[in-house]
Structures are given as structure tokens and as C-alpha cells.
């Protein structure tokens, strides 16, 4: 119902219950004024050190097992974790009861899954940051494009005769413009469509058809989306607008292709977010004689805004890193182009991809690689800022925090 309160509510409980897990029975009698022995309320709880003991045991047994099959740190930690989770479950079942054990088991699994998720996160981020920093910090990295940069200059850079020259201005502009255009196309369409599905359609057959197509759209390979957009724009430009051949290669075509990929994400996530808005609120508003469209805009959307913002961010993140559909729609450019409707454009992912796959100097790829990773880092930072922006927007419109 309310955005911020909910996560925290069980959180509080969580804290209480977690500490309960590890609190020594003996502490119970410290309750002021209670003189008698142990509290019945904490009777039968396992002592606080159980978790540590089990963890220690798991470490040792895992080490022993690893000794048998050849030691390595990763394996050791994995086996320890598994042993710990299982042993805690068994111990708690024996010392307390199955329900607590199950609760503990799931808590461990959930925390475990979080820790597991951190591993690739850290690894990827580390890879990008460590490879990307030199490029990112090169002077003029943001201010220059690749015009005039050739294998000759890159060889000099690799030899140490020149600083890293050439930058991502063109790609950065391209990414921002194309993504912005795609967002402007798909977010309104996606939002309105999901509003139609949830608020207006009454589950009629048209809504079923729309849902059906949106579902299909989620699995469309990005390259196919690009090919489609390029075909469509070629048709529009050449057949309808009578423009010369090749004029369909422009930033806007790429935006169209990306929209095909973005729309299903926006529709589906928004649809789910709107669906969980309590009907109570819609009724309260309707009973005040408020028109449905106003109810939708002022009551339903704000209630779901945080989820919608997340969905849109995901959708943007999904397409901002696309390579293949851009290549076939917007081409590859070396210099900065601010016009979405004319001439080719570069984007960061294409830049990264090209620089990695086909270094400017095949015999001295270091410079290209530095630029590529630097660009990757920039791309991540852009989406990060976007994410932050989405959260701020969500925060402004989101329900005020409150209790019950």
C-alpha cells in the first residue's frame, strides 16, 4: 500500500527475530524485576553461540573434505556455506522446533542468495572499473570524438609517444539522443497501454490480443528488432517520403528499433504495478465524483510510481546497452552528430563493441581497449544516474510514509 513503510516493517521484526535467534537464554532473566530463573518464553531456545559453533564446525569439516579432493579457497567457502545452512537447520530442529528451523533455513538461503548475487556484481564492476579508469581519466575523453584518430596515432600511444587521444563525445551524444528518443517513444505508449489494460479494458478480447503480442515481444532478439526498424524506416523514407536511398540510416531509426525492445518491458512491469494498487483507493476517489482519468493519474499512478519508475529504468537499461540493432539502423560514425534525423550516429555500446572487436590499430589494440572500457564505465555511470533520477522522481510522487 505504502511504499517505504512496508519493507521496513518486517525489517524491524526481522531485527527482533534475528537477535532472538542468537540471544543466550541466560540473558532473559535480566528483565528488570524478574528474580526467578529462566524465562519460560525463552526456554528451549538454542544458546546464542550455536551459530558460531556451527559455523566453526562447518569450516573445519569443509577444510577436511577439501583436503581429500584438493584444497582451494572458493570450494572451501562454498562447502562451508552449504554445511552451515544444513547444520543450522538440523540443530535448530533438534534444539528448538521445525518451524524455527525452517524460518532460519529460509533466512539463511535468502541472505545467501544475496551474497551470491554480490559476487558477479563485484566481479563485473571491478573488471569494468579497473579496465575503464585509464580511459575515463584520459584528458579530452569526453570532449573529443574519434575523428582523425587512426592506427598510426594509436601505435604511438601504445609506444608511449602520445597520450591516449580520441574520445567518446560522439558516442555519448548518440547514446543520450537515441535513448532519449526511444524513451520518449516507448514510455508514453507503454504507460498508456498498461493503463488501458488495467483500468479501461475490462479484460476484453482486445486486451487479450495486446497482452499476447506484448508477451511475444519480450523474447524478440535485439538484432531482429533492429532489422525490422531498418526495414520499416527504409520503407517510410524511400517509399513514402521519397528520400534518397540510405537516408533511413539515422539515429531515429535506431530509436524505433530500441522502442520495439523497450515497450514490452514498460508495459509488463507497469501493468503489474498498477494491478497491485488497492481497489479501495480507486473506489474512494470514484466516490468523490472524480473522473476515472484523474483517478488514474492522481491516485493510481502515484501509488504505483516507485514500481513504474523501476520498470522504466530497467527498460532503459535494457536498451541503452544494445549493440546489434544500432549497427543496422544508425550505422557507425567517427564524429559527433547532433541530428537524430540525418546522418549516422555512434552510440556507446557500438563504440565499445567496435573498439574491442576491431581495434583502430590491429597491431596495437591497447588504446582501443582503454577507450572501450572507459566507455563501458561511462555507460554504467549514465544508467546509474538514470536510476538515481528515477528514484528521486518516484520519491517525489510516492505515498508519504506512515504506519498502519
Amino acid at each position: 500500500m505504502i511504499k517505504e513503510q512496508t519493507p521496513s516493517d518486517p525489517t524491524k521484526t526481522a531485527a527482533g527475530e534475528l537477535s532472538a535467534d542468537v540471544t543466550d537464554v541466560k540473558n532473559a532473566q535480566q528483565g528488570p524485576g524478574r528474580r526467578h530463573g529462566r524465562s519460560r518464553l525463552t526456554a528451549g531456545q538454542k544458546p546464542r553461540w550455536t551459530a558460531w559453533a556451527v559455523a566453526g564446525g562447518a569450516l573445519i569439516i569443509a577444510a577436511a573434505l577439501m583436503a581429500l579432493i584438493g584444497f582451494n579457497i572458493a570450494g572451501w567457502l562454498i562447502i562451508t556455506a552449504i554445511l552451515y545452512v544444513v547444520a543450522m537447520y538440523v540443530t535448530t530442529t533438534i534444539m528448538e522446533n521445525r518451524r524455527k528451523a525452517t524460518d532460519g533455513l529460509w533466512t539463511n538461503l535468502i541472505v545467501g542468495s544475496f551474497l551470491i548475487a554480490l559476487i558477479p556484481l563485484i566481479s563485473v564492476l571491478w573488471t569494468v572499473i579497473s579496465h575503464g579508469t585509464p580511459g575515463l581519466t584520459a584528458p579530452g575523453f569526453f570532449a573529443s570524438d574519434m575523428k582523425g584518430v587512426t592506427g598510426i596515432t594509436d601505435q604511438k600511444t601504445e609506444a608511449g609517444d602520445l597520450p591516449l587521444i580520441g574520445g567518446i563525445k560522439h558516442a555519448l551524444m548518440g547514446t543520450l539522443l537515441i535513448t532519449l528518443a526511444a524513451t520518449i517513444i516507448s514510455v508514453p505508449i507503454g504507460l498508456l497501454t498498461s493503463i488501458y489494460l488495467v483500468e479501461y479494458s475490462n479484460d476484453n478480447s482486445l486486451s487479450k490480443v495486446i497482452r499476447f503480442f506484448v508477451d511475444v515481444m519480450t523474447g524478440i532478439p535485439s538484432i531482429v528488432a533492429g532489422l525490422f526498424a531498418s526495414g520499416l524506416m527504409m520503407f517510410i523514407c524511400q517509399k513514402i517520403l521519397q528520400m534518397p536511398p540510405g537516408s533511413n540510416v539515422m539515429g531515429f531509426s535506431a530509436a524505433v528499433g530500441l522502442s520495439v525492445l523497450m515497450i514490452p518491458v514498460v508495459v509488463r512491469s507497469t501493468e503489474e504495478m498498477l494491478r497491485v494498487v488497492p481497489n479501495e483507493l480507486r473506489e474512494a476517489s470514484a466516490a468523490l465524483g472524480v473522473r476515472k482519468w484523474r483517478t488514474t493519474l492522481k491516485v493510481v499512478l502515484p501509488t504505483a510510481i516507485s514500481g513504474i519508475a523501476s520498470g522504466i529504468t530497467l527498460a532503459i537499461a535494457r536498451v541503452v546497452g544494445e549493440t546489434a540493432p544500432i549497427l543496422v539502423t544508425a550505422g557507425v560514425a567517427l564524429s559527433t552528430n547532433f541530428n537524430l534525423f540525418k546522418d549516422w550516429m555512434m552510440t556507446l555500446p557500438v563504440f565499445i563493441y567496435r573498439q574491442l572487436m576491431n581495434p583502430t590499430a590491429p597491431m596495437a589494440p591497447t588504446a582501443s581497449e582503454e577507450r572501450a572500457w572507459g566507455a563501458a564505465l561511462v555507460l554504467i555511470i549514465i544508467v546509474m544516474l538514470l536510476n538515481l533520477l528515477a528514484r528521486v522522481v518516484a520519491k517525489i510522487f510516492a505515498p508519504k510514509t506512515a504506519g498502519r
Partner: protein
């Protein structure tokens, strides 16, 4: 854009005259492998024709040829000349004389390996084919030991790394194997590595090079310029073994025959993979620029001429050599190319 442009105009005359007046954007698309060279030419052309900018979309040779045939690219960069049926199709956009294949540069394809402590290996075509089909899978296989006296080959597993994408390099390499080792290489001339052969693969030239560089015992085939620290197999030509070099590659192309059936100015060549002439290296890739013999408007013709002439000029060839490691065309080929490009005109 700078006065130096005219002073460096030692380049071929007509290009300079035409080039300084024309302006506009010339779009091409095609082979990924040309990307580095085209980048160098884009920059170099700015000196002779400051107002012409060239944009090049490295979508792949096939897609590039398709874009060219569809009229959305003014020229295509391609690892292979137009196929006959494509040449027929080209008449639609280029007029009755069709399109011209002009060699843009030559790239020796190195059979490159990564083997600790071994910096010189010699093989004949048969051995190469056996390795790439998996029949030979140890570096100290007798067939190898026999050809490499004095080299101590370790008992390392051979990891074959091939291109996972369709590629002109693969096509030229398998063309060589088919011609030179028909017994061991039972597959066809293919752009896509036969999936029946179970081996490692990676996308793109840099992909295979990177993978081979990080895998001990790996062997692959790639554009010589991009092979970095890998060792190069010397390939048996006639009775001796020839290392891949730019000169050897250029020599191979010079002795190649022109493909028959094309128009007089078409310069598509058919390489002789089994030539025994000493000093030639048989695994060579000729990268073409494909132009129309006629264009609709004079400006495009001028731009195409400016670009084409520059690319095939000594300057252009040098720029590509320095920047991208491409082997330059020989002087005679370069002259021939210039003549062919001169014939491009406006459609009547």
C-alpha cells in the same frame, strides 16, 4: 581544412583536382576487417579532398554488399569480389556495366599459434588441414616433428581456435586448404567454419587472437597485422617454407589471374593457392572496394573517384599499411586500379 593539404598533393593529380572541389558525404558499408584501414583513409582523404567525408559501416562483407546492391551504400568493402549472381543484380543500381571490384589492400592470413618456448614452426598444407580438422591434436605429433627438425615440440594439446562468425578470413583459409590439401580437408570452401569440427571459437579477428593468446597450445588463423604476440607458422610453398609477410602476400596477388567473365575494368582476381613460386605466401586475402561503373549524379562520381583514387594511391596504401598493417598493392596493381576508377562516370 589546412594549407598543408595542397602541399602534400604529391598524390595523383586527377584525384587532387577533382577532390578539392567536390564536397559531400560518401557512405559505404562492408567488411569489418577493413574498419581500421578505412579509418586511416577517412583521415588521410581529408588532406586531398577536405570537403569529402566518408562514413563506413562495418556490418560485414555480405551485409555491405547487400546494402550496396540495394543502393543505400555508395560503395561496399568486401573480403570477396561480387559473386556472379550479385554482379547481375548490381546492374539494377549501377547500370548495364554493373559494378567494379577494386582491390583495396592485401592481407596475409597467418596461421598463428601460442606455444610456450617455441618461436618457429613449419607446416605443409596437409598438416595444417589435419590440425584444423582435429586429426592431429598434439604439438609433438610425428608429422610436426618431422617438419621441424631442431625444434623441441612439447607434448601439449593443440587447441584449435576458429572464427565463430561467418568471415572472409575463413573463406580464404578454407579456400587454401581445399586447394592445397584436398585429401585432409574434406570440407568445402566455406565462410562459416564447419560445425562438425569440434573446436574452440571466437567472434572476430580480435576475438580469435585474444583467445589464442590466452590459451597455451592454441592455433588459429587471422589477419597477420592483428596477431600480436602469436607465433607464425611458416607454410610450405614448393620445396621451402615461407613465413607470412607483406611482400610475400603482395607477390602472390601480383601473380594471380584476373577472374574471367567480368567487365574489362573489373579487377577481381583469382589467387593460386598452390603456386610453387618461391617468395609467395599462399594464404592471402584480397579486400575489395566495390564501386558502381556509373552513378546517378556527378557529385557522387567525383567523391567516389576522389576516395577510390586516394585509397589505391601510394599514399593511401602507405596510410593503411602504417595504421592497419595492411600489405600495400604493388605499383602495377595500384596503377591498374587507378585506371579502372577513372572509368567511372555518370549514368546516361
Amino acid at each position: 581544412n589546412n594549407p598543408g593539404a595542397s602541399s602534400s598533393g604529391a598524390a595523383s593529380g586527377s584525384a587532387a583536382e577533382g577532390g578539392s572541389q567536390v564536397e559531400g558525404t560518401l557512405s559505404g558499408s562492408g567488411a569489418t576487417s577493413q574498419e581500421a584501414a578505412v579509418t586511416a583513409w577517412q583521415t588521410g582523404l581529408a588532406a586531398t579532398a577536405p570537403n569529402v567525408s566518408v562514413q563506413y559501416n562495418p556490418v560485414g562483407s555480405g551485409a555491405g554488399r547487400k546494402a550496396f546492391l540495394a543502393g543505400s551504400a555508395s560503395f561496399a568493402g568486401s573480403d570477396a569480389a561480387l559473386k556472379p549472381e550479385e554482379q547481375d543484380e548490381a546492374k539494377k543500381v549501377c547500370g548495364p556495366d554493373g559494378a567494379l571490384n577494386i582491390p583495396a589492400y592485401i592481407a596475409p592470413v597467418s596461421v598463428a599459434y601460442n606455444l610456450k618456448g617455441v618461436d618457429k614452426v613449419q607446416m605443409d598444407a596437409e598438416t595444417i588441414a589435419s590440425i584444423f580438422t582435429g586429426k592431429i591434436n598434439k604439438w609433438n605429433d610425428p608429422a610436426l616433428v618431422k617438419q621441424n627438425e631442431g625444434v623441441s615440440l612439447p607434448d601439449t594439446k593443440i587447441t584449435v581456435v576458429h572464427r565463430s562468425d561467418e568471415s572472409g578470413t575463413t573463406k580464404n583459409f578454407t579456400d587454401y586448404l581445399t586447394a592445397a590439401a584436398p585429401k585432409a580437408w574434406t570440407y568445402d570452401v566455406v565462410e562459416k567454419w564447419p560445425s562438425e569440427i569440434n573446436a574452440e571459437s571466437a567472434q572476430g579477428t580480435s576475438g580469435v587472437v585474444k583467445l589464442a593468446t590466452t590459451t597455451d597450445g592454441a592455433i588459429t588463423y587471422a589477419d597477420l597485422a592483428a596477431t600480436g604476440n602469436l607465433g607464425h607458422v611458416s607454410v610450405k610453398v614448393g620445396d621451402s617454407y615461407q613465413e607470412p609477410t607483406e611482400e610475400a602476400a603482395a607477390k602472390t596477388v601480383e601473380t594471380a589471374k584476373k577472374v574471367e567473365g567480368g567487365s574489362a575494368n573489373d579487377m577481381a582476381v583469382k589467387l593460386d593457392r598452390t603456386a610453387t613460386t618461391a617468395g609467395t605466401y599462399p594464404i592471402v586475402l584480397v579486400s575489395y572496394h566495390i564501386f558502381c561503373s556509373t552513378y546517378k549524379d556527378q557529385n557522387t562520381v567525383d567523391m567516389v573517384k576522389a576516395f577510390g583514387t586516394y585509397v589505391t594511391s601510394q599514399d593511401g596504401q602507405k596510410a593503411a599499411q602504417e595504421a592497419a598493417g595492411a600489405a600495400p598493392l604493388s605499383t602495377s596493381l595500384s596503377d591498374q586500379a587507378k585506371k579502372s576508377i577513372e572509368t567511372i562516370t555518370v549514368a546516361k
